[in-house]
Symmetry: C2
Subunit: 608 residues, 2 copies
């Protein structure tokens, strides 16, 4: 029997013991749920992803989506898996019952997606993007738009995408040039004709569902025929592949200009889409993709950021899940593979490589990175539930505040350190791990995307320093600090005072440096933002490790429970001994705020 994708004991600990999901069942939105329903959903996710997502992991990597005359053809197993996911109701998890959704807590939906991503992150991209799309439309769309575009996605009859980037404008959305020209009004709201090119569109075309709902950022052409400049001119449009307003299912004016061939995530069709070419498809007899304005004109970016924050946490989840699975495969390999002897020994049989100290160091590093990353994302999911459904307003506001400052960390930390776990998995497997015969090779390639998309690590750092700390002041940081202090008190009482002291010390320093950052000129403040993100991220994960360790009971009577608790405590100790010392080094770099890189003359890089 293959090793389960994730540790169910860990998942159950996170959800039930650590993040106390029971508290949610008393709330109206989750009144239909209980430990039993939640367990059943996670059981289902575990079974379905092992049966439908895992088996084609390598096949869909080898056999990439193909661009045919009439669109993109994906691997048949990808098609079957995404359909099975929908049919089982897993794509409907977080949605309202009125839309056919399960009204699951975000925490449970996150556990479902963790299994799916651990099994096959490229295949999961289709439902993941569709869920993000549907959430955005549910929040900002009209009832008619929700009925036309969200319901089919929840029911599995359509999938959705996010169309932000353009070839000339990746991270810089102010510079998008896609045009929207007014084209009347109908049941689905104000109609526009969209023209432009959208790059990096995952799930941009496929043959999994007939219809695809694209959410497109574009600029409405002004009376002077020009596009408004900057981000304030960006609007959001729902642009379906098949037009549904009149029931015609006519093809919209959208075509696939090409597929991107990536290092990993190869099962996901990643497209350059042309809107409004007017060559193959001319809805209503003329060029221009028909799109429906979602929300107010000029408010597109704000709406998209609503989705983006969720997407960023989802990226962090995928990165954590990929590192997590690689760790588990590494453990299996290290226990089976016999090679070498203990240092100094010259005779005797070869030992399992898990007996070599450096292999154990790598395994513990992986375990702390990947379990730490998963705990971080689950913690954020719990904050989302709290921000949405807590009974008093103050609790909701505080949860939202913590969530906002943690979002860049939840995106970047798993992307960097989950990937480090994947890198170590190759190293533990040695030459075998470098071959395509072993999943760890592909898990690494897949995860390498995560520090890039939905905002690179450098952009998360600027978001943290420039927006979350500088623009919002230190309110969120203070709220978070209170939570850290509470953990340190709990930890000290649980025999973990060494770690509690170390964390308290680092956290005070973070507060001092955040004060400094508030005083600095904006341009100067971000010089070493990435180092601040590194320090802050490690401090956050150290806090969550300490909180987990302090929650668990290492002296439980049940042997497996005690071992689980002791293993978590060992991870906590490892993280504090080996990783936490890096925090001071990074913080010193932020405190010094050297201009050595920022002010380096570009001509010093001239290639001669």
């Amino acid at each position: 029997m293959p090793t389960p994708l994730l540790s169910r004991r860990d998942i159950d600990f996170l959800i039930f013991d650590w993040l106390r999901i029971d508290d949610l069942f008393a709330r109206e939105r989750f009144a239909e749920h209980s430990r039993e329903t939640v367990t059943a959903v996670i059981d289902l996710a575990e079974r379905l992803t092992e049966a439908e997502f895992l088996p084609h992991y390598k096949d869909a990597d080898r056999d990439e989506p193909k661009l045919r005359a009439d669109g993109v053809e994906v691997h048949p197993a990808v098609r079957a898996a995404v359909r099975a996911f929908s049919e089982a109701g897993l794509a409907a998890g977080p949605f309202d019952a009125s839309l056919g959704g399960l009204q699951l807590p975000e925490l449970v939906h996150t556990a479902v997606m963790a299994y799916s991503m651990a099994a096959n992150v490229a295949t999961t991209a289709y439902p993941m993007l569709s869920i993000g799309n549907s959430r955005l439309l549910s929040t900002f769309g009209t009832p008619a738009q929700i009925e036309a575009f969200v319901r089919p996605q929840v029911e599995g009859r359509a999938l959705g995408t996010m169309c932000l980037s353009e070839p000339q404008a990746g991270s810089s959305l102010a510079d998008i040039a896609t045009r929207a020209e007014a084209d009347g009004e109908g049941a689905l709201g104000r109609r526009y004709r969209i023209t432009g090119n959208k790059m990096w569109i995952s799930g941009g075309d496929h043959d999994i569902t007939d219809n695809i709902v694209h959410l497109v950022l574009a600029k409405i052409v002004g009376d002077d025929g020009k596009l408004p400049s900057g981000t304030a001119g960006i609007s959001l449009f729902a642009v379906p592949k098949l037009l549904v307003e009149d029931g015609s299912a006519e093809r919209n004016d959208i075509s696939v200009a090409g597929l991107n061939h990536k290092m990993g995530y190869r099962g996901t069709a990643n497209c350059l889409l042309n809107f409004g070419e007017g060559v193959r498809h001319r809805p209503g007899g003329r060029a221009g993709a028909v799109g429906y304005l979602v929300g107010e004109p000029g408010r597109g970016l704000a709406a998209m950021f609503h989705m983006m924050n969720e997407a960023r946490i989802a990226i962090g989840l995928g990165a954590a899940a990929l590192g997590y699975r690689a760790h588990r495969l590494s453990v299996d390999y290290a226990r089976e593979r016999r090679q070498g002897r203990p240092a100094g020994a010259r005779a005797g049989s070869p030992v399992a490589i898990i007996d070599h100290p450096d292999v154990r160091r790598m395994l513990l590093a992986q375990k702390t990175y990947s379990e730490g990353a998963l705990a971080l994302v689950f913690y954020c999911a719990r904050l989302i539930d709290e921000a949405r459904t807590a009974t008093d307003e103050n609790t909701r506001a505080q949860a939202l505040s913590c969530l906002e400052i943690l979002t860049p960390v939840a995106k970047a930390w798993p992307s960097e350190w989950g990937l480090a776990a994947n890198d170590l998995a190759i190293q533990i497997h040695g030459g075998y791990g470098y071959t395509r015969d072993f999943d760890v090779e592909q898990l690494y390639r897949d995860n390498r995307l995560n520090p890039i998309h939905e905002g690179t690590t450098g952009i998360q750092a600027i978001d943290l320093v420039g927006r979350k700390i500088r623009r919002s002041g230190d309110g969120a940081l203070k709220l978070l600090s209170e939570r850290v202090e509470a953990t340190c008190r709990k930890a000290a009482a649980a025999g973990l005072s060494t770690q509690a002291q170390a964390l308290t010390h680092d956290w005070v320093r973070i507060g001092d440096i955040a004060e400094d950052l508030l005083q600095r000129d904006h341009q100067v403040a971000i010089w070493n933002a990435t180092h601040f993100l590194s320090a802050f991220g490690h401090a956050v994960v150290a806090w969550l490790w300490l909180d987990q360790a302090a929650t668990l009971e290492p002296d439980a009577d049940d042997l497996a429970t005690a071992r689980f608790a002791q293993a978590k405590r060992r991870c906590c100790r490892f993280f504090f001994e080996t990783e936490v010392p890096k925090i001071a080094t990074w913080l010193q770099l932020v405190a010094d705020n050297s201009d050595v890189a920022a002010a380096c003359p570009p001509e010093f890089f001239i290639n001669e």
Copy 2:
């Protein structure tokens, strides 16, 4: 015009100004050489690798070697390139004139290989392995063996391999099970029949040359029919694909059991070879691959280590070259790609991404990693020249001593940090860098092998701590420390006293900890060996950066010379500000020598 593969100004600085190659021309072995001949050889390498190695970089990655009925077929451009390399005499660089070699200093040969590896590391593997094979045979073979097996390789009529690993024995050579049975004696020495499986054999079969000379580690069957245990029973054999002893060119009993499909290095045919199957080829009418004993029975591993040390430095060179090229591509991209605006600015045209502080930070990190790695390997090459040709014995012994302690660093540091430069290259390129349309994607995949083969980073750490420091005492470390002190004096005089003081401080600490390591029990000493290697490697590279910076004249009249010097000084400052602080963190981990990983109960990793 494409950017040159490496900075010729940098190469010339390293060879002529920093490592003073002129001193070598006075020595008998290099009497035919001068600045002019050396320049001509490097010119040739630069031109030839750009023309013959670079153009098929992607093609040979896409179109991997194929296993046909009669052996392995490589991409035609690989075949042409390796032949052109030989025909130009570049594969003959380091060999004696009596064998048709150029008697080049190792330093110059290293520069030649740096260009070749930067252009196409997978294609370069064929001549690189052949050169290592020929060197080993030149040192340990009989004159007849040298004539039969080395001369054809130097002349480009054959290529060579190294056959060490077996499927069940990768890093642990004591456990190899390939058998050698006596089969008489002839002009090429004692003949044996070889039977066994050899894994990970790069260039194990191909259609570039007719003959292939395999150097195979095997154990001679004892009178009791058993194989000797441990490494002392390992012997070395030359096993040609075509038997040449009797001029018959009969096929030897060697077959390709399969090709390994790797993440990168795909242009190199990497084989599982079966020796002595007796199915397709039965030399002299019976099973068993014919091999000739090289050197003494039971001394095979010692001979192979002679080669292995050179191979390890060659791996470091490849890792440095791959990082170096990725940095140069990143500079080009960062200067061309326009995206975003300075922090705080909301209007104006997008700027080149090199204007963003975090991009400059990544570029400087890449530059210090890759130029630092290249300098380290060139420094080792200069030590090889010194160890072989210095006029007094003491100088030779000291150079050898320094070389031995630096070898694990020259292998591991470029592999880890050159790879980090490749990783940053993907990050700087954003989504584009993650596609196979850009070379940085492949450069990363290629370089990911280097921390694995020829001894993983963990094994280099054990070599450094367990063998180079513990077994040899601290003599080599003291010699190295004297060189570091000399650099610090020179640096202080050149206005770099901040850096000189920091390095002196770290180096004293390294000496203290090395003393500690000498006292510890062997098994305990290696618990945190990898952290010691990390610290020691960073300290070595910091020393070489400081030495380079102190050598250069930032106030030169010539503008380009001054800019080059200033850029190197900026790199030195960056490395000391940003990287050197990590040394203390790693050293503290070694000093504490926690058992948190080493003593972690394996059951804590059980997958449930």
